[in-house]
């Protein structure tokens, strides 16, 4: 409980800190099993892209604090470059909006297909992003790239290998004076924590 208190403090203090560099997560690409083998029929594996941005209270897909971007962000002109030891194969998939991307058949393969890596690339629809904590994140670049590499061995394992889509940038400072409502809520939280602590000590 004490740690939770510390976190809240930290969150509070963050509101008044100056700009600093950060890396934030935007989504996940993964090599997954779509359909398992069934008798003589081979299974189907798929490369998935999940855009975990957008305010969840507004039906967005952000999962703060690991995926804290509340801005509804799209990955534009996206593509997946697949490596199988031969010539690279590039699959253009266009815009990837928030949420799970419906992988086209071009990203679905028999489970006998072997890949050594898969690289997702795209362009951010926005480079100024609102984060779950109310801060603003300024992306260093509009380009986003993420590569799935085998966790172990030489080739990707469906259902096991994935990569987080993340970008670097800076978090801009917020207003030094909290909003009145915020101050009330914080104070209420402190009061609640004090009651809990007092109750524990009394026990």
């Amino acid at each position: 409980m004490f740690r939770l208190t510390t976190c809240v403090f930290a969150l509070f203090l963050t509101c008044s800190t100056s700009a600093y560099s950060a890396t934030i997560n935007l989504g996940v690409i993964s090599f997954d099993v779509l359909t398992s083998p069934n008798g003589a029929d081979p299974g189907v594996n798929v490369f998935n892209v999940t855009n975990l941005t957008g305010d969840p209270t507004l039906a967005g897909f952000a999962l703060p604090s690991d995926f804290p971007v509340f801005t509804f962000l799209s990955f534009l002109d996206s593509s997946m470059t697949l490596e199988d030891g031969g010539p690279s194969s590039v699959v253009n998939i266009g815009a990837v909006d928030p949420g799970p991307f419906a992988s086209p058949i071009s990203l679905q393969f028999p489970d006998t297909a072997v890949f050594t890596s898969a690289t997702f690339s795209g362009m951010l629809s926005h480079t100024t992003l609102l984060l779950a904590d109310g801060t603003t994140f300024l992306a260093d670049s509009s380009e986003v790239v993420a590569t799935i590499l085998p966790f172990s061995g030489q080739s990707l394992v469906a259902g096991g290998d994935f990569a987080v889509i993340s970008i670097t940038g800076s978090i801009a400072p917020t207003d030094s004076v909290p909003e009145p409502q915020t101050g009330v809520l914080v104070m209420a939280a402190f009061g609640l924590l004090s009651v809990v602590a007092k109750t524990r000590r009394s026990r």
């Binding site: 939770l4 809240v8 509101c15 997560n25 996940v28 993964s30 997954d32 099993v33 779509l34 359909t35 398992s36 069934n38 029929d41 081979p42 189907v44 998935n48 999940t50 975990l52 305010d55 969840p56 209270t57 039906a59 897909f61 999962l63 703060p64 604090s65 690991d66 995926f67 509340f70 697949l82 199988d84 031969g86 010539p87 690279s88 194969s89 949420g99 799970p100 991307f101 419906a102 992988s103 058949i105 071009s106 679905q108 028999p110 006998t112 609102l130 779950a132 904590d133 109310g134 259902g159 096991g160 994935f162 987080v164 909003e179 409502q181 915020t182 809520l185 914080v186 939280a189 609640l192």
Partner: protein
């Protein structure tokens, strides 16, 4: 405001901390749509508690969105993504497949290895579809059409599943012997992608492709799929020849061949001349017939048809017959077309191989102004047409080739054959205007006829030998032409004399005609002291010197030797050959010496100046004793009026021979050069001497090195002497040209270096001995010496430019050419240098002679009589220059004849 909302949620989550850890799910499952019993689905959430979370302790429940009981799904995996974010993978239960597409909400809960419970406080949506998804492997399903024949080219459609064809990177391979999209047979080639699963390929099956099935393979780079035995190459039906017609035809003819399976893309091969085969051009082809053209190189043999790599050969041979053809000829060539006149050429056609077509005649290259006309215009085998060329009176002279063409259609092809005729357009013959009554054309001894209207460098290559006047001995005298006379009907006559002691007169307009009259003067001299070593002539000695004709009096003067060695001066009436005056025997004394006829010979042409005939003598091949002599005779009476011995001793030498030239005269004085001999008082060896009409020496000039000249036998008298203006010019064996000023009584110079005036000009004119080729005209002197090239020096009226303005190409052997010059007045573009040359040294041998012509300016050779039958000159006579007069060239020969050259149309 967003922060406030998130803080509220956090507080709520803290409130639940004591029961179970709340997990926030991403509101849509991934994939969002799945098949019941088949699809693995991921639920991503955050807030999962720390620790191990196994699938076995994790529960996913699917509840229809519109209500109903929840169904648990089998959790396949729980994967930590980042921080507290994990992904729960589950399989959509097969039990949901009975229903139609149904929207479900999924929630997750479970327990960690440390007994911490968690549960999602929200859910993720998932649309479940009935049935199972079967995503097939990329594969090819069909190729249409699925086969072809060798030699064919066509399109096929390739169809596949999940192939993801991409234009540009997708290629196909159809196996051995099949080219795809123009690529090498057997390899991958480009296709046209119609969709992700269809593409069109252009196939070309090699004519020699083996029969059988082949795998079809398509690659998109990342994928490569094959349709085993997907394409079949079938055996093309074998071509067969039934017949062809005609069986015998010439090249160029069309053959119709019939048979079966003669398409597609057949080829025809025939036997080739010299071996091998040659392809025939196919005009049309179908499965049952081919029409082709016999190529020009085809030979008799079978006909082979090849279709799709299979060849059928005819059982019968196609016999190649020579095509009908023809040739034409046109005569005469060269043709002489005179201004204002017409000439007819005969054009004849000779057919072969059954030629029977009519050939149409035409002519090209005719100089502007000349009108051509054929009669008839068309001829066939064995027929002739007359081509009349008509030149207007003002037609410019020219020399050119015209091309006469005959065109006929043979086997559908136009065949043209030509004949070329060289046409010389020459000035109208205005009559026999030129008379050459003395050697070297005139008393100045310039060697030039400046009144030649017909012969020019442009047309001289068209002259031919017109004939020869037969005489009884070798002719050493230069032919003389006397025009504007009437002698037995001839208006122009040739006067000549022979070493057999005969004088002749011929009709100069009738080359080769018999003489009009002749006079034989008795047996010539055949033996004398110097004859064994004589190098001036070969054989007998008779009338060697060129006669001279008094055209006004119509009298010919000739000097001849009889068998006793006596020299007699004859005079004949030109009209009939009768004696004008009784001959006189040459005798006399001078300088204290009496003339001894047997020790002397006359090689010098006779001269006639102011009614005085002059003659001169030298020794017999330098056999002493001898002296140089000049005699003068009254032309009317033949009485001697002067005699001059060059020296005053019997062995003084200083003979006069001048390479058969005559003494030059300016109309008042005589000019002569002398040979090796004594130079002293009253002795004029190796000197240029001016004589009076009565032969008194008036002036002289002698080179300072006269003794060296004597010692080396380089007598200046070997060359000729001519007069122009105030100057006397001559040269001799040492190649020097001497120019002497004759304007004053003692201007010639005397002994060079002795105090008198020097030679006016001396220069090395030749590096060879000068004999019979020194001509002067149009301010140029042309000198042709022995064994060196001919040269032209320009004259400014008093001196020569010693840098040659023209140099001939070839040297000529001993004694070099004997020359003449012709031009139409001062028009040097018409100038020609004429000469006779021996085939080899004629020092003391008889050699074959050649008449030559050189451009009068450049000295480039422009005509040579050659040695062909009918054109050859005959044997060469030393020092006798050709005589050019009235478009004809008269040449003395050692073959007992005077040859005549000219244009055949201008006899």
């Amino acid at each position: 405001m967003q922060v406030a909302k998130w803080a509220a949620a956090t507080i709520a989550a803290v409130a639940l901390c004591q029961a179970q850890v709340p997990v926030m799910l991403s509101p849509v499952a991934s994939p969002a749509v799945g098949q019941a019993g088949a699809t693995s689905v991921n639920l991503t959430g955050t807030g999962f508690p720390a620790g191990t979370i196994s699938p076995q302790t994790t529960i996913v429940e699917l509840q229809p969105a519109n209500g109903g009981p929840a169904v648990a799904a089998k959790v396949m995996a729980v994967t930590t993504i980042f921080g507290s974010t994990r992904r729960v993978t589950f399989l959509i239960p097969a039990s949901l497949s009975a229903t139609g597409p149904t929207q479900y909400v999924a929630s997750v809960s479970g327990t960690t290895s440390t007994a911490t419970t968690f549960a999602s406080f929200n859910s993720a949506s998932l649309l479940v579809l009935p049935g199972a998804i079967e995503l097939p492997d990329a594969s090819l399903t069909s190729v249409s059409p699925s086969g072809g024949l060798a030699g064919q080219t066509f399109l096929v459609t390739i169809t596949g599943i999940a192939t993801d064809f991409v234009q540009g990177s997708t290629q196909a391979r159809f196996g051995a012997g099949i080219s795809v999209g123009g690529s090498a047979a057997g390899g991958f080639g480009p296709v046209t992608v119609n969709s992700l699963t269809t593409a069109t390929a252009s196939l070309s099956i090699d004519a020699t492709a083996s029969v059988g099935v082949r795998d079809v393979t398509v690659t998109t780079g990342s994928k490569e799929v094959s349709l085993l035995s997907g394409f079949n190459v079938g055996a093309a039906p074998l071509p067969a020849i039934s017949d062809f017609n005609p069986k015998s035809a010439p090249a160029g003819a069309q053959i119709v061949l019939t048979g079966s399976n003669l398409s597609p893309s057949p080829s025809i091969t025939l036997a080739k001349q010299g071996g091998g085969t040659v392809a025939a051009q196919i005009l049309s082809a179908s499965a049952t017939g081919i029409t082709f053209t016999i190529p020009s190189t085809a030979a008799t043999g079978t006909v082979a048809v090849t279709v799709g790599g299979a060849t059928a050969t005819s059982s019968a041979a196609l016999t190649i017959t020579p095509p009908p053809s023809f040739s034409i000829s046109a005569l005469p060539s060269p043709a002489q077309l005179i201004q204002g006149q017409s000439i007819n050429l005969t054009v004849s056609l000779t057919g072969s191989n059954g030629f029977s077509q009519m050939a149409t005649l035409s002519v090209s290259g005719v100089p502007s102004g000349i009108t051509p006309a054929f009669s008839p215009l068309q001829i066939t085998d064995g027929q002739s047409s007359s081509l009349t060329l008509t030149a207007p009176a003002n037609q410019p002279t020219s020399s050119s080739d015209i091309t006469i063409s005959a065109s006929a259609t043979v086997n559908g092809n136009v065949v043209v054959h030509t004949a070329i005729v060289h046409v010389n357009v020459t000035a109208a013959d205005t009559g026999n205007i030129v008379t050459v009554s003395t050697a070297q054309y005139n008393n100045q001894r310039t060697g030039a006829n400046l009144n030649e209207k017909i012969l020019t460098p442009a047309n001289v290559d068209g002259i031919r030998k017109l004939g020869s006047y037969a005489v009884d001995g070798a002719v050493y005298a230069q032919p003389l032409i006397i025009s504007n006379v009437s002698v037995s009907g001839a208006s122009s006559v040739l006067v000549t004399a022979t070493m057999h002691n005969s004088v002749y007169v011929f009709n100069a307009q009738a080359p080769g005609s018999p003489y009009i009259w002749t006079r034989n003067l008795g047996t010539p001299l055949t033996s004398h002291p110097g004859q064994a070593d004589n190098f001036l002539y070969q054989g007998e000695m008779g009338c060697m010197a060129t006669p001279v004709v008094d055209t006004a009096a119509g009298v010919i003067y000739a000097l001849c030797a009889n068998s006793s060695g006596l020299w007699k001066l004859y005079s004949f009436n030109l009209a009939d050959g009768t004696d004008f005056h009784a001959p006189v025997t040459i005798a006399g004394s001078s300088n204290g010496i009496a003339f001894d006829p047997i020790r002397h010979m006359s090689r010098v042409a006779l001269g006639l100046v102011n009614g005085v005939v002059n003659i001169a003598f030298c020794g017999w091949a330098d056999q002493l004793p001898y002296q140089g002599w000049v005699f003068a005779y009254n032309a009317s009476t033949l009485s001697q009026i002067g005699a001059w011995s060059v020296v005053d001793t019997e062995d003084g030498g200083a003979g006069i021979w001048l390479s058969a030239g005559g003494l030059a005269s300016d109309g008042t004085s005589l000019f002569v050069s002398t040979g090796n001999g004594t130079f002293a008082a009253k002795n004029y060896g190796n000197a240029f001497v001016r004589l009076s009409q009565l032969l008194a020496p008036l002036d002289y000039a002698t080179p300072a090195d006269w003794m060296t000249i004597n010692a080396r036998d380089r007598d200046i008298n070997a060359g000729r002497v001519f007069v122009t203006g105030n100057y006397v010019i001559g040269g001799g064996k040492d190649g020097r040209i001497f120019v002497l000023d004759k304007s004053g009584p003692s201007s010639m110079g005397g002994l060079e270096g002795s105090g008198g005036p020097p030679f006016h000009q001396v220069f090395e004119g030749q590096n060879g001995a000068i004999f019979g080729c020194t001509v002067f005209a149009n301010n140029s002197m042309i000198v042709g010496a022995m064994n060196t090239t001919m040269k032209r020096y320009t004259w400014n009226g008093s001196t020569f430019n010693t840098s040659p303005a023209g140099i001939g190409a070839d040297p000529y052997p001993n004694p070099g050419p004997a020359c003449s010059y012709s031009s139409n007045g001062a028009d040097t573009s018409t100038a020609i240098v004429w000469g006779v040359t021996p085939a080899a040294s004629a020092f003391n041998f008889v050699q074959t002679g050649t008449l030559r012509a050189w451009d009068g300016n450049t000295l480039a050779e422009i005509y040579s009589s050659g040695t062909t039958p009918g054109e050859a000159l005959g044997d060469y006579t030393k020092f006798a220059p050709p005589t050019v007069a009235n478009g004809r060239v008269y040449v003395a020969t050692h073959s007992n004849a005077v040859a005549v050259y000219g244009f055949p149309a201008n006899p």
